[in-house]
Symmetry: C2
Subunit: 146 residues, 2 copies
DNA sequence: TTACTAGAGGAAAATGATTATCTATTAGTA
DNA sequence: TACTAATAGATAATCATTTTCCTCTAGTAA
């Protein structure tokens, strides 16, 4: 469960190194995003943080998430038909998304790491990152629709 | 240049079959999206259409693009850090995106069609579609930044 | 411990892309 | 040619996100 405790501490250290502060609200955001590795939108993060700090403002979540994004410690996911989701793992990795319940999960797929290099070579682009996303209906939602 | 003329006519037929009308403004949108296969945002489509029909309203472009999207004849691209882009080819296919000039181009990559089936089998998901997108800096933008 | 100060929080207004509304117009059909 | 439902255009509304502005506090150093 505290599988990503180490990275949590790294991000905290980097925050301080960049002249930022570790407030209780920020700590709560970091816990849910970086340590627990959920793929949540701002509203959902807000609910988590409010459980501990009821006075929290939604703007604070937005500001915190943007600070983390600018530091490259969090990545933004999701498309235009839904609001933005955030991932505490900023390294590009494939996702599996249920279009019904909107759940986003990580998946492992071998042999994808070579693709960016291959594209860079063929097209002359300097590849910075990539996205591989699969959209479908999860097993639970398939049952429900019967 | 009129490589996709046939599909343009198919989309027109489908529009009519669904009880929609082919207006001059819609025809202009179809030409730039379906026939010319550009990856444009609403504002850019608007500029194209206004060249022929100066009184066109931006809302008309949004409505047309949404009709086409609901019919499954156009797909929406792009992420939260930019406004939506539209692709006249609704079949999932990989894209190469310059994060500097925002140009989006189609690329051919073999052996990607099996991936969705593989994921479906392993995870029990019913896969509907997918996205493969590579982000980088195009050759032209690499030169400019020297 | 205390004091200092730049960074952060909270509340609310502003923004910007997208959607909805409301008539007047018109494409498609008989 | 006439009819009618769909569409265009103009504009208001919506909604996620950003900005503003002022107060508060985390981190630091005396
Ligand atoms: Mn992830
Ligand atoms: Mn394309
Ligand atoms: Zn589901
Ligand atoms: Zn470029």
């Amino acid at each position: 469960m505290n599988e990503h405790q180490t990275r949590l501490e790294e991000v905290i250290a980097k925050l301080r190194a960049n002249g930022h502060r570790l407030t209780p609200q920020r700590m709560a955001v970091l816990k849910v995003l970086v340590r627990d590795r959920e793929h949540l939108n701002v509203e959902q993060i807000y609910e988590h943080v409010k459980a501990d700090f009821p006075m929290t403002s939604l703007a604070t979540i937005y500001k915190t998430v943007n600070v983390l994004k600018e530091m490259g410690e969090v990545m933004e996911l999701g498309f235009h038909d839904d609001c933005a989701r955030f991932d505490g793992n900023p390294c590009p990795h494939p996702h599996l998304i249920c279009i019904n319940c909107k759940k986003i999960m990580d998946i492992d797929i071998d042999d994808l790491d070579e693709l960016p290099r291959e594209v860079a070579r063929r097209k002359g682009y300097q590849i910075i990152s990539h996205r591989f996303e699969f959209y479908g209906i999860c097993p639970r939602c398939q049952e429900t629709s019967n």
